[in-house]
């Protein structure tokens, strides 16, 4: 019974990503990250995406938003099925650029780690939010401004009427992130992708933003994909967690079981290496670590990409074929050639 006391209003699937692959052509050779990623996001659900730097979290979300570089530099394969209001689904990867512009910021929105990269420094905050509303909704400038005001109020900005006429650089980091959230929510998206939205913020401000996102989700029922490398944040906000390693999903489960009983050795190692303050012990705790380094995307290890760092690794078993993503029961998915033996030995 670990886990949330959240009033679960998780509903039907709003986004289904199937077998997403992205290939970058680089002078040094092709980089393929992600490599066949599939997941779903349901109404009112928060899916957290975790993994080491370079594992493909941002590229996955950029591909969903159709924001990766254009071919021939970069190729995207797979399906990104978004439910529309009529109850049907559309594959975002097959839309024209013009059609996609209508979807982006309307049905599906994204907020980034560094708000200044997506706010225009020469326009006021109010003008930028109003512009987004005006583009997607057939409303006049006055109504758009009123809606912008309501949004700033909604995201907890003090003196919102005054802030409408502020420029982004007049705002603190936390306020900019709130403005970004206001913009992303301008058209009530069904899905919000938040890529490390609190990483650059202080913990006390991070706590404010996380509380805000949760509250907004309860109001609007949007599905959220929340990318972070902070496992504390994951425990705080996620319903379901997806762990990526070297471009592949290696484990996916509901947040309670994932933390209570991680089954893939990388996830288990990651959870063990989180610093914990040991107040009982006399001596200093030695943190558990995962040895070695993240693999080079140009030279991915064969078989299980984690095998060079894995303490359970067996030659011949782990370094030949890529282990399949298996269901260990209860929708707990994992990718490890030896998970049954490891689970048995642990119990």
């Amino acid at each position: 019974m670990a886990g949330s006391a959240q009033p679960a209003a998780i509903g039907e699937t709003v986004l289904k990503v199937a077998d997403l692959c992205v290939t970058f052509r680089t002078p040094a050779g092709p980089i393929e990250v992600p490599r066949g990623v599939s997941f779903t996001v349901r109404r009112g659900e928060t899916l957290a995406l975790v993994g080491e730097s370079g594992s493909g979290k941002s590229v996955t979300s950029l591909a969903v938003m159709r924001l990766t570089p254009k071919p021939p530099r970069c190729h995207v394969r797979g399906q990104v099925l978004l439910r529309d209001d009529a109850g049907g689904t559309r594959d975002l990867l097959s839309l024209s650029d013009e059609q996609m512009r209508r979807v982006r910021g309307n049905d599906i929105s994204m907020i980034f780690q560094e708000p200044m990269t997506s706010l225009n420094p020469v326009h006021t905050v109010g003008a930028q939010i109003a512009e987004a509303i005006h583009f997607h909704r057939n409303v006049g400038p006055r109504a758009a401004r009123e809606r912008a005001l309501a949004l700033l109020e909604l995201v907890g900005i003090s003196e919102p009427r005054k802030r409408l006429d502020s420029y982004p650089h007049h705002l603190s980091g936390g306020m900019r992130q709130r403005v970004m959230i206001a913009m992303a929510l301008a058209c009530d998206p069904k899905v919000l992708i938040a890529d490390e939205p609190t990483t650059a913020l202080d913990v006390t401000v991070q706590a404010q933003i996380l509380a805000l996102l949760k509250e907004l989700q309860q109001r609007t029922g949007m599905g959220i994909i929340f990318i972070t490398h902070n496992l504390g944040v994951v425990a705080e906000i996620a319903d379901r967690v997806m762990v990526m390693y070297a471009g592949r999903i290696v484990e996916q489960a509901d947040v309670g079981p994932l933390f209570a009983r991680p089954m893939m050795p990388y996830t288990a190692g990651l959870l063990r290496s989180v610093p914990r303050v040991d107040l009982a012990g006399a001596g200093r705790p030695v943190l558990e670590t995962i040895g070695g380094n993240v693999p080079d995307p140009l030279r991915m290890p064969p078989g299980c990409a984690f095998h060079p760092r894995c303490r359970h690794h067996r030659p011949g078993r782990c370094d030949t074929a890529v282990p399949a993503l298996e269901d260990a029961g209860g929708d707990h998915l994992l990718r490890c050639a030896r998970w049954r033996e490891i689970a048995e030995a642990a119990s």
Binding site: A235, E236, L271, P275, V277, R284
Partner: protein, 338 residues
């Protein structure tokens, strides 16, 4: 006074301030902005001790670190290092002390010169401070240090870009240790690293500290990391130390409302604990116009009118545990780690 570690202070800071004077132009004379980055902080670090320094962005942690190493000139106050008063010393007078006090940087990507081999990076301080050292001796010392930080001595010939973040941080640590310092300031040494690599570097620092008997100021905004490595912790807010206590008593029995709020805001990696948070209003104010009295009062859930009147001094409330808050009647929540 009862202390965690017996031992005399290696470093003592008393009333140290560092103000930055901005906009000192011909046209703006008279209304110059003053950034009170650090405003009257006092603490000591005992031999062999790790003192942690936590606080939010802009609270003045790095400035404290740089000022006690005399990479900054303090605006006021005294810094005594092993019997030497550092405030007021000239560059030249500081020079013989430099090798004994070193800084480890946050960013392993920008702090290593990309055009130098790892060997050169590590042995540069030797060529500056002990130019008489032979090449062979330098090479041997580099190999010894690479070994100490868990890297192959063969790496001496390679360049920084060939290494991962964690490996580069190890190189930075080797460079800081090459002159056998007694005192290290580690400024966010693991913040830029992945969780699994962070733990490796934290362990390395602890191991080295044990082995070499180092004294350290460990700066981080991550409470759990600081809690793991520090004997005592100082909490900073807007240029001041608001609480200073042995690690255990800080986590179990915080006495300053800001410390309580930090503990409450910290996300704990356990989904079974989803609790009510103390959500502070707003963000840390500007150090150009700090609030009068207690600098935390504009965000403090327990502020009284009197909090605006005087700057509360850092006062001992239990053995070795000091706080700067006028309220003694509060029953504050411990850390979730407790």
């Amino acid at each position: 006074m009862t202390v965690v570690q017996t031992g005399t202070p290696l470093l003592t800071a008393e009333g140290v301030s560092k103000w930055f004077f901005l906009g000192n132009t011909l046209f703006r004379r008279g209304r110059q902005d003053v950034v009170r980055a650090v405003d009257g902080v006092s603490f000591d670090i005992r031999r062999g001790e790790v003192l942690g320094l936590v606080g939010e962005s802009g609270s003045g942690k790095s400035t404290v670190g740089r000022t006690i190493l005399r990479l900054n000139e303090p605006t006021a106050g005294s810094i005594r290092f092993d019997g030497h008063e550092l405030a007021g010393l000239t560059r030249r007078q500081l020079r013989p002390l430099r090798p004994r006090m070193q800084l480890i940087f946050q960013d392993p990507f920008s702090s290593l010169n990309p055009r130098m081999t790892v060997g050169r990076i590590i042995d540069t301080p030797i060529t500056i401070h002990a130019p008489e050292t032979s090449r062979a001796a330098r090479r041997e010392r580099v190999a010894e240090l690479l070994h100490l930080v868990g890297l192959s001595p063969r790496y001496a010939e390679r360049y920084p870009h060939e290494f991962s973040g964690g490996q580069r941080q190890r190189i930075g640590i080797a460079r800081a240790l090459v002159m056998n310092p007694d005192f290290l300031v580690a400024d966010e040494p693991v913040s830029a690293l992945d969780v699994s690599i962070q733990a490796q570097v934290v362990n390395l620092l602890l191991e080295i500290r044990e082995k070499l008997g180092l004294t350290m100021l460990f700066i981080s905004h991550d409470l759990a990391v600081v809690g793991c490595v520090s004997d005592r912790i100082a909490v900073m807010y807007l240029g001041r130390i608001v609480e200073l206590a042995p690690t255990r008593s800080l986590f179990l029995d915080p006495r300053h409302p800001y410390t309580e709020a930090l503990f409450s805001a910290e996300p704990i990696p356990n989904p079974a604990i989803r609790r009510d948070r103390i959500l502070l209003k707003g963000e840390i104010p500007s150090p150009v116009n700090p609030p009068s009295g207690c600098v935390f009062r504009t965000r403090c859930p327990y502020a009284l009118p009197d909090c605006a009147k005087v700057v509360p001094p850092l006062t001992e409330v239990a053995p070795g545990h000091a706080k700067a808050c006028i309220r003694d009647d509060l029953d504050l929540r411990p850390s979730q780690h407790a």
